[in-house]
Symmetry: C2
């Protein structure tokens, strides 16, 4: 179990996915905002693995990978899921596990992580 | 001009839209992440005005309004635009101006504001 938990790194999701399941209602959307820092010079390679790994994730309404223009090693990842369970389940998908395997050695750390409860807006179901 | 600049408050956009135009290439997507705090007890009303005001904005690829589950007065707003100019132009739309007019008295402040350069992911054009 401890080995599996260490895989929960992609998407700035990390660290506290299970507790969020208990806190948020299953009927609410689930959001994550977070900053991911690559080892120096590795941001573009990390970005590529994240883009590869995030297609075809059931329940994923939005997953935006963005460069930080003020920090050459940093990415911002913002996610919206239909519910916390969909996010949690994504971490077991083969494509995500493969992305995690490739991305992990390039990641220096996470920060600015916030769980949210998306309500609506542009690009989400009404 | 100073009066117009004060209108740049919705979307945690605020404060520094013009400088960003100079810094980012027009061909890159433009992103914003930010936290908006309502006066106590006013978050839901504020949320309603933001939802009303953010439809039909040309060049807006994503605009997600989310509650902060750990702060009863806080919202997180994450935005993706085709380019910085589309974001800037949105601030002059009648629907956005109306939302700003209604929302402004309810807003206590902004924080955690980050401009980003979205690259791709789920829910954006390939």
């Amino acid at each position: 179990m401890s080995v599996d938990r260490r895989k929960v790194v992609v998407g700035a999701a990390a660290l506290a996915a299970a507790p969020s399941l208990a806190r948020s209602g299953e009927s609410s959307m689930y959001g994550l905002i977070g900053k991911m820092s690559a080892h120096p010079g590795k941001r573009d390679e990390l970005l590529g693995y994240l883009l590869e790994g995030t297609g075809g994730m059931p329940g994923c309404l939005s997953y935006v990978i963005a460069k930080d223009p003020s920090d050459a090693d940093a990415l911002w990842i913002t996610e919206v899921w239909t519910d916390p369970g969909a996010h949690q389940a994504s971490l077991s998908l083969p494509s995500v596990q493969e992305a995690i395997r490739k991305a992990r050695p390039l990641i220096a750390g996470f920060s600015d992580r916030h769980e949210t409860e998306p309500v609506g807006g542009v690009g989400l179901p009404a």
